[in-house]
């Protein structure tokens, strides 16, 4: 309920900005006498999918010997097929529950595939390829059913096949990789995702997937470089790359008026400059106060840049 909006509706009807008939429903929604629980139902559906997949995962781990691998594989496979079959039939008129059932079927199918691979090893020493198969299957389903969730899972599965965890890269303050293999793989995945996003956008084939691919791509690139900054060796090179990526991202995002990506670019550039500063301070044996001063300066620069950008946006609007 919002009493200000209720009063505004009455006021706008008096001023004839709103028609009294149309205003009745608006007033009901504002006064709280009519509310929508659509989002709550969606969250409940998502929770259901999460709990079922979690339960299936525990079943696979704990009850393998008692139930038997064939029985587990068949049971999960049947459940997955049932969900996907239902989704296939409902695709022409998707309902509130459609996306959840599709997601559940896809996740169960992927879990079943992984389970079959581990228990029966059809791929032998090439077992990681099951992640690529899962990524391709997710992508096929995403394109068939126009699902952004499955498209994002397809990209993260592809990254997982290359040994990259999006969650790990997206939290660069965590553990630092002990080799540059992860950095290279993350950068390759990131560039591939960006290229895929551009391709989808320019070809107008599922152009709505472009933001998903672009966001995941940039997060991989920026996150992997930020994570690598924690290693002393070649820090200047990595900091330069991060600053460059941040500037390029901010530049293109500004042209596209994609403010979230612009903010990511500015933040990445600031971290890159911070990397240079850390290296410089270490070389001149500067004290802790020098680090603090750099942080203050960088933070101030970021805030000024964002406020100026906002002002420019308002001016151009």
């Amino acid at each position: 309920m919002n009493p200000d909006v209720v009063a505004a509706v009455d006021d706008l009807v008096r001023k004839r900005v709103l028609e009294s008939r149309a205003a009745a429903r608006l007033r009901r929604a504002a006064s709280g006498s009519l509310i929508s629980v659509r989002q709550e139902l969606r969250v409940l559906l998502w929770a259901g999918v999460f709990l079922i997949t979690a339960g299936a995962g525990i079943l696979v781990r704990q009850n393998l010997d008692r139930v038997g691998p064939v029985a587990v594989a068949v049971a999960i496979g049947v459940a997955a097929l049932a969900c996907l079959g239902w989704a296939w039939r409902q695709a022409s008129a998707p309902s509130l529950v459609f996306e959840s059932v599709l997601l559940l079927g896809s996740l169960l199918a992927a879990a079943d595939l992984a389970f079959v691979e581990v228990k029966f090893t059809p791929l032998g020493s090439h077992w990681p390829w099951h992640l690529l198969i899962v990524a391709a299957a997710y992508a096929a389903l995403a394109f068939r059913f126009d699902s952004k969730s499955l498209f994002s899972l397809s990209l993260t599965s592809f990254a997982a096949w290359r040994g990259v965890s999006l969650a790990g890269v997206a939290s660069p303050w965590g553990a630092v990789a002990d080799s540059d293999r992860l950095l290279t793989e993350a950068l390759i995945c990131g560039v591939l995702f960006l290229a895929l996003g551009k391709l989808l956008e320019s070809s107008q084939v599922k152009a709505q997937f472009e933001p998903v691919a672009a966001w995941l791509g940039w997060i991989l690139i920026v996150g992997a470089l930020s994570m690598r900054l924690g290693v002393d060796e070649s820090r200047v090179v990595v900091a330069t790359a991060l600053t460059g990526c941040g500037v390029v991202l901010a530049w293109f995002a500004w042209d596209e008026r994609s403010l979230g990506r612009y903010a990511l670019g500015v933040g990445a550039a600031a971290v890159g400059v911070g990397g240079w500063a850390v290296e410089a301070i270490e070389r001149v044996h500067g004290g802790f106060n020098a680090y603090l001063a750099i942080v203050v300066l960088l933070a101030g620069a970021v805030i000024v840049l964002l406020l100026r950008a906002q002002r420019a946006l308002r001016g151009s609007a």
């Binding site: 706008l12 259901g48 709990l51 997982a160 965890s165 964002l306």
Partner: protein, 382 residues
């Protein structure tokens, strides 16, 4: 709260509602423009990405500036004065941003408000050689309540309510105070949170504080919390086992609280109560499972998941079958709200919770799905 800020907040609420009406096709662009000119918003507001980055930068930069000032200026024995000085600096920065600079939802003013409250709390702590739980909680509650009253941020109101509860946790009656405060505070605060006399920001503060008191009440009456002396544990006391009557009452409370809150949510059509009711239901079911292990975890999780799906489908269909696709003023159809935030959060949660883990070295062992590597994500090595 400043009158101009409160007025801008009220106008902002109307403009947001108008945007929702336009998205739903209830009004056209011309009407939106007419509403925007009738309810002008003179604040400088940043988009979500800008806001998060600006807030983070201000928080980190302000923290670094405080540490730098402390290392250059602070001397032993003057900690209180120094912390008070920083409190004034950050409070003044917040006032200038929300006043002369007319910033709102810009991130930076929120960050300086957090820093002001933190420094005030540090000043309070520096007055004591050894701070007790009550002393600490009272100081923090006062700082947060003052910040919530002045700047209208719901986070401060929620923290103030939480610290009030912590400050009352000492003593024999602590648990009873928690239970009673939830029962009393919610009916008192809910009408205030819906009154036009309060600004939208203060209404959000009241909502947040009321929810914290309600959660506190549930924690007080939950039988697992009673058995483990959670509330009494704040003072490292209360190791004595609860009496039989107290356990009986807690068992009844654990069972009855979720449906009561859900009924209240439906009656008052309150989303906060609905979320609290769902949370309490999950907590009560987990409590039940703890004392009565009726089945294996995988079965209960799958059962819970199926129940969630079934309830969502059944409720959706039941509401859609009602006259005008609604029942008791509740509908499953989209109205005028902005659903993008929930959809984005859901998409992010899907990626985080359901993405497969990265491939591991060949000698790694199989990890079934479920949760993080679930469904999609079993990882393993042969």
């Amino acid at each position: 709260m400043r009158a101009d800020v409160a007025r801008a907040e009220r106008h902002r609420a109307v403009r947001i509602a108008a945007e929702g009406w336009r998205r739903a096709g209830a009004i056209d662009d011309a009407t939106v423009l007419a509403i925007a000119s009738a309810y002008p918003d003179d604040r400088v507001r940043l988009g979500r990405g800008f806001r998060v980055l600006a807030g983070f930068a201000a928080l980190v930069g302000g923290g670094a500036m405080s540490a730098l000032a402390a290392s250059l200026l602070a001397s032993g024995g003057a900690e209180t004065l120094f912390a008070l000085g920083l409190t004034l600096v950050f409070a003044a920065a917040t006032e200038i941003q929300t006043g002369r600079l007319r910033l709102a939802q810009a991130g930076a003013e929120y960050a300086t408000a957090i820093l002001a409250a933190t420094c005030a709390a540090l000043a309070w702590f520096s007055l004591f050689t050894s701070v007790s739980v009550v002393e600490g909680a009272v100081g923090l509650a006062a700082a947060c309540a003052l910040a919530a009253w002045r700047w209208g941020y719901a986070l401060f109101a929620a923290l103030a309510a939480a610290f009030v509860l912590v400050s009352t946790s000492q003593g024999a009656m602590g648990r009873s105070v928690w239970a009673v405060s939830g029962v009393v505070a919610f009916p008192l605060m809910l009408p205030m949170a819906r009154s036009a006399r309060w600004s939208p920001a203060h209404r959000r503060c009241l909502d947040a504080a009321a929810l914290v008191f309600l959660v506190g009440a549930y924690l007080a009456i939950n039988v697992y919390g009673l058995d483990h002396r959670w509330i009494e544990g704040f003072g490292n006391g209360g190791t004595a086992a609860p009496g039989a009557w107290a356990r009986g009452a807690a068992i009844a409370g654990t069972i009855l609280a979720p449906p009561l809150v859900l009924v209240a949510a439906a009656h008052f059509r309150d989303r906060g109560l609905l979320a609290a009711g769902a949370l309490f239901t999950a907590a009560s079911l987990l409590t039940l499972r703890h004392y009565h292990p009726v089945g294996p975890w995988w079965f209960l999780l799958a059962l819970g998941g199926v129940a969630c799906l079934a309830i969502a489908v059944a409720v959706g269909r039941w509401l859609a079958a009602g006259p005008g696709r609604e029942r008791f003023g509740i509908t499953a159809d989209p109205l005028f709200g902005d659903h993008r935030r929930v959809e984005m959060a859901q998409a992010a949660a899907t990626i985080v919770a359901m993405s497969p883990g990265p491939r591991v070295t060949p000698e790694g062992s199989f990890e079934g799905g479920g949760g993080r590597s679930g469904g999609g994500g079993a990882t393993g090595g042969a």
